[in-house]
């Protein structure tokens, strides 16, 4: 593990300032992210989901842990693996609070179904959405392409004197692109409040990280910019939360950008089209060890050990270690199931955009 030289070790961990409600909320958010994925697989079978599903199964702790460390006014830029991030952002301000700085579950389900009430009115697919008002940067398909944009947002916010932080999410594979290096170099020089979260799930489509990154950790890329590069256990939501919180604080105080690498593992194929092939190009020992520590189980164990989950509750909702096909609704909290249902019910009734919209908004008049 490499820790940037500018960060000081603290005895008290950020998690120790969380309340019991926070711990339980985090646990519930993990279930929500997991169930979202499972529900989408079902919806795809029903023919409602349009296009490819890029599963975040087994990587939920990265999203929940990093997002929980942010303020509502902070910006994020999720990519294809981060679909839950759009509604997890600022979720603690109330799941159905319209004022919260995240996108509603209704809009997100509209997005994956390709319905007109999606942000962007279904003009681009999957994760290529955002919201200026909710402080979510709209990405393109071009991996790492949002990092320079995040730098621009961070520059603008810094010039306005705000203490807002900008977080970009990227797979480990995308860290080879020039955009990644160009933008982090720039952010480092200008001390921009930008955190680049690397979701190192070991695979970029069919290529293992060892084939494309020459440093022991991907976070070591930070050394070339003389900024903190930290590795977190991406299966442990609280380790992610602790390290992210430190980097957020570091950025808020004007110290500049950093990299947080979260080690995790892609549960399934690159996309659902790749599920069958992924079993062939990934050795089974690799898959088994990569999936051996379900973030739900890791979190549960911690909460039980800390007496946050009592004996009676410890064995409730046992979605842990179950694949999408093994898990059933009984394995999830009702709130989580109802929340998804609320989104799906809305999206089913949302229409398609008028055909003529295809020709609109090329320019602003």
């Amino acid at each position: 593990m490499s820790i940037g030289k500018k960060l000081t070790e603290t005895k008290k961990l950020p998690r120790h300032s969380l309340t019991r409600e926070d711990y339980l909320e985090i646990f519930k958010q993990l279930f929500l992210a997991r169930y979202f994925d499972i529900r989408l697989i079902k919806e795809k079978k029903r023919g409602r989901l349009r296009g490819t599903l890029y599963s975040s199964h087994n990587q939920e702790a990265v999203l929940v842990g990093t997002l929980y460390a942010l303020n509502p006014e902070d910006w994020i830029s999720p990519i294809h693996r981060d679909m839950p991030a759009f509604f997890l952002k600022d979720l603690k301000s109330g799941w159905n609070n319209p004022e919260r700085k995240g996108i509603s579950i209704e809009q997100i389900i509209c997005q994956v179904f390709g319905k007109v009430d999606a942000p962007g009115r279904a003009r681009d697919n999957w994760s290529h959405i955002g919201s200026r008002e909710k402080k979510i940067i709209h990405s393109t398909s071009m991996l790492a392409g949002t990092i320079p944009v995040a730098a621009g947002v961070a520059l603008s916010e810094k010039m306005r004197g705000s203490d807002t932080v900008v977080v970009t999410y990227n797979g480990e594979g995308s860290t080879a692109r020039g955009d990644f290096h160009e933008a982090i170099n720039y952010a480092a020089v200008k001390k921009l409040p930008m955190i680049t979260v690397i979701e190192n799930n070991m695979w970029a489509y069919g290529t293992h990280v060892s084939e494309v990154c020459n440093t022991p950790d991907v976070a070591d890329r930070a050394k070339g910019f003389d900024i903190p590069g930290i590795v977190a256990d991406g299966q442990d939501v609280f380790d992610v939360y602790d390290k992210m919180s430190q980097l957020v604080e570091y950025a808020r105080q004007g110290n500049g950008p950093s990299i947080l690498e979260c080690k995790t593992y892609r549960a399934y194929g690159h996309g659902d089209h790749d599920d069958n092939r992924a079993d062939k190009y990934r050795p089974s020992e690799d898959v088994n060890s990569g999936r051996s520590r379900d973030p739900l189980a890791v979190c549960r164990e911690y909460l039980v050990n800390e007496n946050i989950l009592g004996k009676d509750d410890a064995n409730l909702y046992m979605a842990d270690n179950k694949s999408a096909s093994q898990a059933s609704d009984e394995d999830f909290p009702e709130e989580v199931i109802n929340y998804l249902k609320q989104g799906v019910d809305f999206a089913i009734n949302s229409g398609l955009p008028e055909a003529e919209e295809g020709g609109m908004w090329v320019f602003k008049e």
């Binding site: 919201s131 709209h138 392409g145 320079p148 621009g152 609109m360 090329v362 602003k364």
Partner: protein, 333 residues
């Protein structure tokens, strides 16, 4: 009472004035680019601006064009207007993805939620011996990317007026400055002392004539004027149109002229295949076919890069002689 000496402004200073005035009018606007602050730009277009607006609003950027364009996109996402300089327009290719996939499409894919008031400007064009990578006119790439406006002024008045209009436009604009015109003495002119713009999307008739229409922009305008003079000696009067804005194109001005002259030659220094001249000809065929007395013609660069030494460069670029010959062929058809 003292008589004020009329102040004449060259093309380069006209551009500088445009940026300066827009920066003064909008304290949120920023300028970014390589060497634009400390040095004042490779050609001096931004000279002095950092002293007035400080090094955050006028910012030297790393040599990283994807980052420059992406930063502009991010700043625009937060509501700022941005001027980003490409040190030479040739290097714009290094920022290509951010331009065509991100900047150009932002307003479209957000269904109008987020406009992108960004101007990417830089020195362009051949005839100066700049060789392959300091001579390009690559406007065709961007005319072919929906969501971008594309502008190229040929006079000092237009340089200032079009740049001000571009900076005020809510859409991204790729702004081609002709570096060979930056300091040309004969382009110095007295500019209005009050605020003005030249609206985007309006071509202008620089010379009226009856027998043939010459359509061009940028540096080739000056070749066209010479050709018009030569044709006059032959007894032909040529109408010369300066397109000024390629996207959106002012078709009306071009078609009106062709309805009068029935013959057209389009001139531009970009390569021929899929170049903007071809686009103008296609539109002429679609909209004014029955008015034509000769095949619409173009005079462009050969389908080659721009080579370095003079004989090679002259061989591939349009010249007065080549344009004249194309006109004569069209007139005698």
């Amino acid at each position: 009472m003292s008589v004020e000496q009329a102040v004449k402004t060259n093309y380069l200073n006209a551009l500088k004035q445009a940026i300066d005035e827009e920066m003064a009018a909008d304290s949120e606007m920023i300028c970014i680019g390589e060497d634009i602050a400390n040095l004042g730009g490779a050609f001096g277009v931004t000279e002095g601006l950092v002293d007035k607006y400080g090094k955050w609003r006028v910012q030297d950027m790393p040599i990283a064009e994807e980052c420059i364009v992406g930063t502009a996109v991010g700043a625009a996402l937060t509501g700022r207007r941005v001027m980003a300089e490409m040190q030479f327009i040739d290097f714009i290719s290094c920022g290509f993805d951010q331009i065509v996939n991100n900047l150009a499409t932002f307003h479209y894919r957000t269904a109008g939620e987020v406009p992108m008031p960004v101007v990417l400007r830089g020195p362009a064009g051949g005839y100066g011996g700049g060789a392959l990578y300091h001579s390009q006119m690559n406007e065709g790439w961007f005319c072919h990317s929906p969501g971008l406006k594309v502008v190229c002024p040929s006079t000092s008045y237009d340089a200032k007026g079009l740049l001000k209009a571009a900076l005020r436009d809510p859409n991204p604009v790729i702004f081609y400055e002709i570096k060979e015109l930056y300091r040309r003495k004969d382009l110095e002119e007295e500019l209005p002392t009050t605020d003005y713009i030249v609206p985007l999307g309006k071509a202008t008739v620089r010379r009226s004539g009856e027998h043939i229409t010459l359509v061009s922009y940028g540096q080739n305008m000056y070749h066209c004027y010479q050709v018009a003079d030569m044709l006059a000696k032959d007894g032909y009067s040529a109408e010369v149109i300066d397109i000024r804005t390629l996207v959106p194109l002012d078709e009306q001005t071009i078609m009106d002229s062709i309805k009068k002259t029935s013959r057209v030659v389009v001139v531009n220094e970009a390569p021929r295949t899929c170049g903007f001249a071809g686009e103008v000809l296609a539109r002429v065929c679609e909209n004014a076919f029955e008015y034509l007395d000769a095949p619409p013609a173009r005079c462009t660069r050969l389908d080659t890069p721009v080579p370095w030494v003079k004989p090679l460069e002259s061989f591939v670029l349009p010249s007065v002689e080549k344009i004249y010959n194309t006109c004569i062929r069209t007139l005698k058809y």
